[in-house]
């Protein structure tokens, strides 16, 4: 039989773990999901806090009640609390505890639907967004900037306070593109292009990662995201253009092969490469791809393959 002391110590252990975690989560920069640096991450972090709170408002009293019941009705000689072995039914009580979770779930459903809608469009409406085309490969990330006509590998630079429309696809197994401090992830799928909106509010360097297992080099698929003021971004684009080679179709064929590579940048990209990648993996069969430009099938021959 566990003595009451052991039980108490055990409970203290659980509670203190929670307490330590909560305290440190709010104060420490290491809990990157809870310290977002952009509006999307903020919406999500708030939702996390609110849903956690709503749940705790129910869970904690229930836990206390539970420990109270276990303590009060334990089978000890001289326990004077009532004992009613046939008492097994009470409509009022049952209504209460069908009601509590229903109300809880109703509240959370409303919050869920609200924020699902909020996160659909660009995080801010008044700034012109930029587009970045993201391709997950075995085992590296290719980022193309169609408007700037440059590309990078395993490295991302974006301007602050500008909504970024990431278009995601994969030329390898399904992966997931995640920059926790800017906001939640989205899958990159072969043959499909999907959209993820993010925006940074603070200049800095953030951690980005692959988040859906894709084979042997998966662990190596993390990358830095640096966010810089607008002017610096333009300067950087110029620099990339001035100091690097163009990205050619041959470079791409090389990059697609399974390998782990470092960071690199390119001064230009082959036109419609992203659409080519999507279609090559079957995107042509898929109606709802939101290509920026409808890919012209005749180009396929030109691009090889």
């Amino acid at each position: 039989m566990p003595s009451r002391k052991t039980v108490k110590r055990f409970l203290m252990l659980i509670l203190s773990t929670f307490a330590v975690f909560l305290l440190s989560a709010c104060s420490s920069e290491q809990f990157i999901v809870l310290n977002p640096k952009g509006p999307v991450g903020e919406v999500q972090a708030n939702l996390i806090f609110v849903s956690f709170l709503v749940l705790m408002i129910v869970i904690i009293p229930v836990l206390l009640l539970f420990f109270f019941i276990v303590y009060r009705y334990r089978d000890k000689p001289g326990n004077k609390s009532p004992y009613k072995p046939e008492w097994d039914d009470n409509v009022k009580l049952e209504v209460v505890w069908w009601g509590i979770p229903i109300i809880l779930i109703a509240i959370l459903s409303i919050l869920t639907v609200r924020d699902t809608l909020v996160l659909q469009g660009p995080p801010s409406e008044d700034v012109e967004p930029i587009t970045i085309q993201v391709t997950s490969l075995d085992w590296k990330w290719l980022f193309q900037y169609p408007e700037e006509d440059i590309a990078t590998v395993n490295y991302l630079k974006i301007p602050v306070d500008t909504p970024v429309q990431f278009e995601l696809t994969s030329d390898a197994p399904i992966n997931s593109f995640w920059i926790p401090q800017l906001g939640g992830q989205r899958y990159s799928l072969p043959g499909k292009s999907s959209t993820l909106w993010l925006e940074a509010e603070e200049a800095g360097t953030y951690y980005g990662t692959a988040n859906n297992f894709s084979g042997d080099g998966f662990t190596e698929m993390n990358f830095d995201v640096s966010t810089v003021p607008d002017a610096d971004f333009d300067k950087w684009v110029e620099e990339v253009k001035a100091t690097n080679q163009p990205f050619t179709m041959e470079d791409y064929q090389e990059l697609v092969k399974p390998s782990i590579v470092g960071v690199s940048a390119y001064s230009s990209i082959p036109p419609n490469l992203f659409e080519f990648i999507v279609d090559k993996n079957g995107g042509k069969y898929y109606k709802s791809n939101n290509h920026t430009e409808q890919f012209d099938n005749s180009r396929q021959l030109e691009l090889g393959n």
Binding site: I32, Q44, R74, Y83, T116, F218, N281
Partner: protein
Amino acid sequence: MIESIKNFSSDFFVTGDPLIYGADVSIVLVMVAIIFVLTYFKKWKWLWSEWLTTVDHKKIGIMYLIASLLMLFRGGVDAILMRTQLAFPNMDFLPSDKYNEIFTTHGTIMILFMAMPLMFALFNMVVPLQIGARDVAYPFLNAVSFWTFFFGAMLFNLSFVIGGSPDAGWLSYAPLSETQFSEGPGQNYYIWGIQISGIGSLASGINFLVTILKMRAPGMKLMKMPMFSWSVLSSCIIIIFAFPILTVTLGLLFIDRYFGANFFTLAGGGNPMYYVNLIWMWGHPEVYLVVLPAFGVFSEVVATFSKKKIFGYKSMVFALLSISLLSFFTWVHHFFTMADYKVDAFFAITTMAIAIPTGVKVFNWMFTMFRGRIQMKPPMLWTIAFIPTFLVGGATGVMLAVAPADFQYHNSYFLIAHFHQVLIGGVVFGFFSGIYYWWPKIFGFSLNEKLGLWAFWLWNIGFYVTFMPQYALGFMGMPRRVSTYGWDMGWAPLNFISTIGAFLMGAGFIFQVWQIVYSIKHRNKEGAADPWDGRTLEWSIPSPPPEYNFAIIPKVSEQDDWWYKKQKGLTKVKEDYKPIHMPKNSGIPFIMGGFWFITGFGLTFEWTWMGIIGLIGVATSIVVRHLDNDTDYYIPVDEIERTEARIGGTR
């Protein structure tokens, strides 16, 4: 020639890894030891006639139990290896390819070859006894279920030493699991190990559903049936609808791999998203079908050890059935990050809706204890540990169900912590509770409580130490399935703590093995027939029960019938025996399982001839069985009288 044989054998037998050589050596040693012991004690015949050919649900239950504990060991070793690799940053203990194999086999084994058979162990040990039946509806099919599970599990485990393990994750998403990215036998082992044991799972689902619907003792209306049997019924409903989806999904994947079809490759006109959808249409119901019987165990245990009727019987039944139904409408929550936002919102709400009946069950358990008298016996301890653990696990489940927030939790350690909390805190604690509860009934002696207490505290403390830090790691952005990490993200301390917890749980398991071995040696048979002052029919017969379970089928009039009979002093039954109709043992299920193994092995290595030989063997076994008319017999009255006198039955 010699070169090619060499090449073949170095692919066939996995070489070049000390872990695997260790496994090779220990497998050979264990086999030799088993053969030696069986021969030395002249036990071959006993093994064949008492166990391998048995159709007795109690013995089949025991075999399920042994197999699942072995698999718990194997899956546990996988877990410890992974946690060792993750204990410190930049560890070199398991390279990424080995790490990938190990997390894949860990997940697959724990769900399909540990949790499922442990669940079937309980079904077999308890359901017929609890509803007053002499066996399951289809005893022969029951043996087929066990042996297909067993040989499927063995096939899967063989991959570690022969050919190489699968390494695409426990759900093996296409296209990663397609030939293009996963060549070789590993992924085929995955397909065939699961397909073959899946036959058994589906058959068991049907078997127990029919058993419960058709074979209840007279007077046991459905609404008087014990809660555990209700939970088995709900679980079987899920099995029957979910397992065919799995079979089809893996069948399509096999066709893709074997014949070069394109079901799951978009380029060929299929779609990988079909795979993700299909596998979760099975996968989500799967996790619920393993937890429902655990809920059933808790209901029995709470009532027995609170000395009180289960609270809110009707709403408990309603909750179980509504969970069965709802579990088929939530699968998209496993890939909110792939779906469309409208779809996300819909499935977020259905997922949260499941928390309603689940929450109601928790309240009902609590109010069963309320105004009861709680005895802290071992099964009750696991139940009491379960409730807070599951409350928190359910709460994090609801957090995950909030779709926009899930974009931040998905595939991170937060998710890992959630499902281990519900699977360990719910399923494993539940099944342990059930095993501790019904052990005296099945084996006729009780388990040592002191060693059990050590196991209990080690498992519990170990659980919290392992998984609470993992929630935090999720908020720190640590993805699941990374094989190592650097110092820069600050993940090191929490990972180290988590590893300590894993070792604590490992120690808990060792205590349990010790507890079982110790209790077998120091048999304590005292009061084994009804040690907990039970409430349901299984406690009305001797422990272990005779092969026919009930010499006289009881007449049921109340919900906790045995409890009321004891209260009213009606436990004596008139000894008016009739010959008992019983099924005969049969070697066919075992042999058929063997042929399935050959089929699976052949198809794994793409040796079509061998697959065909195996399938012919399977078909022949079925035909032979059909031609056999000598499948049953009667136990005569005088033999029943002798048995009952010897075991002191029919009190």
